[in-house]
């Protein structure tokens, strides 16, 4: 059935969900490669993992853990899902997509549970694929569980629970069930969560060995069946962790992640890119650029406008707007940030008091979004933003700049080569005052500030 976007304000309001990435085939998906200037992003990503997309040549590295950066809400998981489709073509990668937010509590996430989810997701995919593994392939992993986890004093509560509910069978379903118990214990915030983490941390070296062996066996079988050359994990949700957890996961525990000999792509928040203390072993130079509405000189970037319009009009029928110019105004004030565009649309639906979204509602929505940004900005932030707008080239990554990038007050374009403040911030009094106090030079202001 052909998809038609909703043309009823209440239906639009009900259907807007910021956190949900679009699946492959979702009619609301819009190809944003030209708009982001990211036509080469997939090619670069594939190359990192040894695949030449143009002619299919394939020489994967033995191990690579890549971070895929981008602003929160810029569409990373949606893009990755589409990349996965390309990378997962027969003879390439056996892609295991892991949405960590669904399986774990991404607000309190450490490497231990992430690894358990990796193992669980791999086994689940193998079960789905009905790929026969050698008899002994799972024995070592089972043994690790039995000896290093279930037999420990610290995990006795967990063990008790497992013994009463999981029947030992020694196959994929058994391990899957065991891992499911594990992840659900982490997710449900049981009191022994920290104990389990400690157990895994203490026996991590052994886990890495058995898991690597399992991966090796799986890849061999995949190759024998002509299904894929390598396993590739795509982990989404690791960009949604709390700031401290992000640091611990990618900085403090990075060496533990790297002990797993596999290919992994993790989503990561943009601010982490500029931390400066990421280990060299983590591959950390790939990012999903923002959708550009203007170039660095302030000239409109047409494909960016078109893509943002398309994103909006896949969520709300054009007829819902009384004035078609308002569509462009919403796009303009989103700064090319898809989630903020949806947030603006949601606000429009909230403010609209008729069957359509009129100009007044659009004005109110823009003002409301601006006032929500005002909640966390400090006078010094405005000064810095005004400075950056005057000289948009990426000139620094101090703590304040990183914080502004983290909370989306500052948006980064073109793989990070230039930055601009969020357009709604430029309407705020604090910004206007800060801008006035700067020594006058040429302006690159494409937006008319509004009251």
């Amino acid at each position: 059935m052909t998809y038609t976007p909703p043309n009823n304000i209440l239906k639009i309001l009900h259907s807007i969900e910021f956190q949900e990435p679009l699946a492959v085939g979702d009619p609301r998906y819009v190809n944003t490669q030209a708009a982001r200037g990211s036509q080469k992003t997939l090619k670069r990503l594939a190359l990192k993992f040894g695949l030449m997309l143009t002619d299919g040549q394939f020489f994967p590295p033995s191990q690579k853990h890549s971070l895929f950066f981008g602003h929160r809400g810029s569409g990373k998981p949606t893009e990755l899902r589409h990349y996965a489709q390309e990378l997962g073509k027969p003879g390439r990668f056996f892609v295991v997509e892991v949405d960590i937010t669904k399986q774990l509590d991404c607000n309190n996430l450490q490497f231990a549970e992430a690894l358990m989810v990796l193992a669980r997701s791999l086994l689940a995919e193998l079960k789905e694929l009905k790929l026969n593994l050698p008899q002994d392939a799972l024995v070592e992993l089972e043994n690790w569980f039995a000896e290093r986890v279930l037999n420990t004093e610290e995990a006795k509560e967990f063990t008790l629970e497992v013994k009463t509910t999981v029947a030992a069978k020694g196959d994929i379903p058994y391990l899957l069930e065991l891992l499911a118990k594990f992840t659900s214990a982490f997710k449900s915030n049981v009191t022994y969560k920290d104990n389990l983490r400690r157990v895994i941390r203490n026996s991590f070296t052994q886990f890495a060995v058995v898991f690597n062996k399992l991966l090796e066996t799986v890849e061999k079988r995949l190759q024998e069946e002509g299904l894929a050359q390598r396993v590739l994990f795509i982990i989404d949700g690791t960009d949604k962790m709390r700031y401290e957890d992000t640091r611990r996961f990618f900085v403090e525990d990075a060496e533990l992640l790297l002990a797993i000999d596999t290919l992994v792509i993790y989503t990561a928040p943009l601010s982490l890119k500029y931390e400066g203390n990421l280990t060299q072993s983590l591959d950390a130079d790939l990012m999903l650029p923002m959708i550009k509405l203007y170039d660095a000189e302030g000239k409109p970037h047409e494909s960016g406008w078109q893509a943002m319009r398309d994103i909006l009009l896949k969520r709300a029928d054009e007829s819902i707007f009384t004035n078609k110019d308002d569509i462009s105004r919403l796009v303009e004030h989103s700064g090319g940030h898809p989630r903020d565009l949806l947030r603006l649309l949601k606000l429009c639906c909230e403010f609209a008091e008729d069957k359509q979204i009129d100009t007044e509602s659009v004005d109110q929505a823009i003002r409301q979004l601006a006032s929500e940004y005002r909640c966390f900005l400090e006078p010094e932030d405005y000064k810095l933003l005004a400075e950056i707008d005057r000289n948009p080239a990426n000139i620094g990554n101090d703590e304040r700049t990183r914080k502004l990038l983290y909370n989306l007050a500052l948006l980064e374009y073109n793989d990070g080569s230039w930055r601009r403040s969020h357009p709604v911030i430029r309407m705020l009094q604090g910004y206007l005052l800060a801008q006035k106090s700067l020594t006058p030079t040429k302006t690159t202001e494409p937006l008319d500030p509004q009251p």
């Binding site: 209440l10 309001l13 009900h14 969900e17 956190q19 929160r72 809400g73 937010t101 509590d105 991404c106 607000n107 309190n108 997710k187 449900s188 915030n189 949604k240 962790m241 709390r242 700031y243 949601k346 606000l347 639906c349 909230e350 403010f351 008091e353 008729d354 069957k355 109110q364 409301q368 006032s371 929500e372 909640c375 966390f376 400090e378 914080k403 983290y406 909370n407 989306l408």
Partner: protein
Amino acid sequence: MISPDLSRFEFARHLTGAELPPEHSADFQRLIKDLRYGGEFQLLIVEFNDWNVREDLIRYIDKVLEQTGMTAGRIELNSAAYPNVATVEAELVRLAVSHSVVHFIGGESWFNDTRLDNFNLRREAIAQSLALRLLLWLDETTVRRFAQHAPDWWAWRGGVFSFCVMHRAIPIESPTPQLGPIDTRSLAKRSRRISELHAFLNTEPPPPDEIALPLWGELAGLYFRLGEWDKALHIRTEEQLPVYERLGDVRQKAITLGKIADIMRARGLLDEALRIHTEELLPVFDRLGDVRSKAVTLGNIADIMRARGQLDEALRIRTEEQLPVYEQLGDVRSKAITLGKIADIMQTRGLLDEALRIHTEEQLPVYERLGDVRLKAITLGRIADIRQARGQWDEALRIRTEEQLPVYERLGDVRSRAIILGKIADIMEARGQWGESLRIRTEDELPVYERLGDVRSKAMTLFQIAGIKLKQDQPAEAFEHLAEAHRLVEDAHYADVLTLVGEEYGKMLCEQGELEQGLNVLETAQKAALQLGQSERAKRIGELMQSFA
């Protein structure tokens, strides 16, 4: 057509919003909209700076939510009752069984950094497991602290709503009275206007009488048109009448009494309306020598007589008492209007030729000469009514579509346009084109009345839809429409529609075996008919009751 629940909810949302200060009205209405139509789990941040205002708002929110069967719970955050986030989470789980909204109160002091961190840790888990809209009531400082301390949590927010009280150093600017004869403002705009008027009229010190009185008048008018008659009556009797008395302005006092009589009449209290007109208004205008106002009052009396079926007396007043006054004054416009009223009486008596002659020969030329397109369109409508009564469908349809509709469209009078579309639907129905008639009523008429908050017209349209449904042999749907129409008019006491709807609805209830409820409905309809002087209808309903008793 929007569902009855939705319509009720929208009406409650707007009217409740109207009771708030204007600066809170928009955020209140969008918050309520989000609670009702947004996702099942939402974390909504509600900012306030006055505890009393917060409590009022919570009461208002809960009241509106009740309209849709949503119940709100409350968690008073304090360290004794909730030592940690886990205890709050447990309470949320408990509340989620029977509530869809939870107000979090006391977060300013309860949320120290540790608790905020722990709450943040659990937010995804709570969101995934509970279908609850959480309203986190926080003061401005705490909102800022949260936004700065936990930016990831902030980015996760479902919405931010501000209900901070502005302590004004300078008085609000006086609104200009908006007292035009045709009000096409949407329900949302009207409720916002009500809120503005309240805010201005309740300032301390109160605005001077000469500014306040017309604004009270506008406010009462707004309430009247929204069917909020108690509120309208309260303003007329408590805010306007005593002031006019104090000022010794007998003329304005009489006009206000006339507005009170209008409320009585709309409620079907025709005797009381008549008493006010004859005993309280006429003597005043006599004494003042205000012949025009006296003539207008006589016209109102004639309207009541006609509604009661006292056609002779109504005709006598029009011809012998009203017309001569306008003739004497040389007021051709009012004379033509009065002649139109006489034609209406003729039409009720079946004297269609005479009615048609008055409309075409005595009214239309006057309005054309005056260039009054609205009155001309109304008169053409009367002519179309007569054509329709005679079965001249094509001519009636031509007048409606070619002569009336374009005028109302040009004037931007959406209500009159909807009424004309309803008349077109009547023609379709009479011709057996039930589907098209139904489409017009549901798609073109109803949404307008809903948007305007015109309860009476909406109930009438629902009644007409029920009629079509019965013809289409869909009694269950007809019953639903009748039930909704009855609920609307019963709440607002629109006697004329109540008797029409009540007769059909009560009958259906009795036929379905709901005897007690059905007989009650019929009894109310009979009372309304008696109030309106519709003795034949009252008798018919009485017989119906007997047949079921």
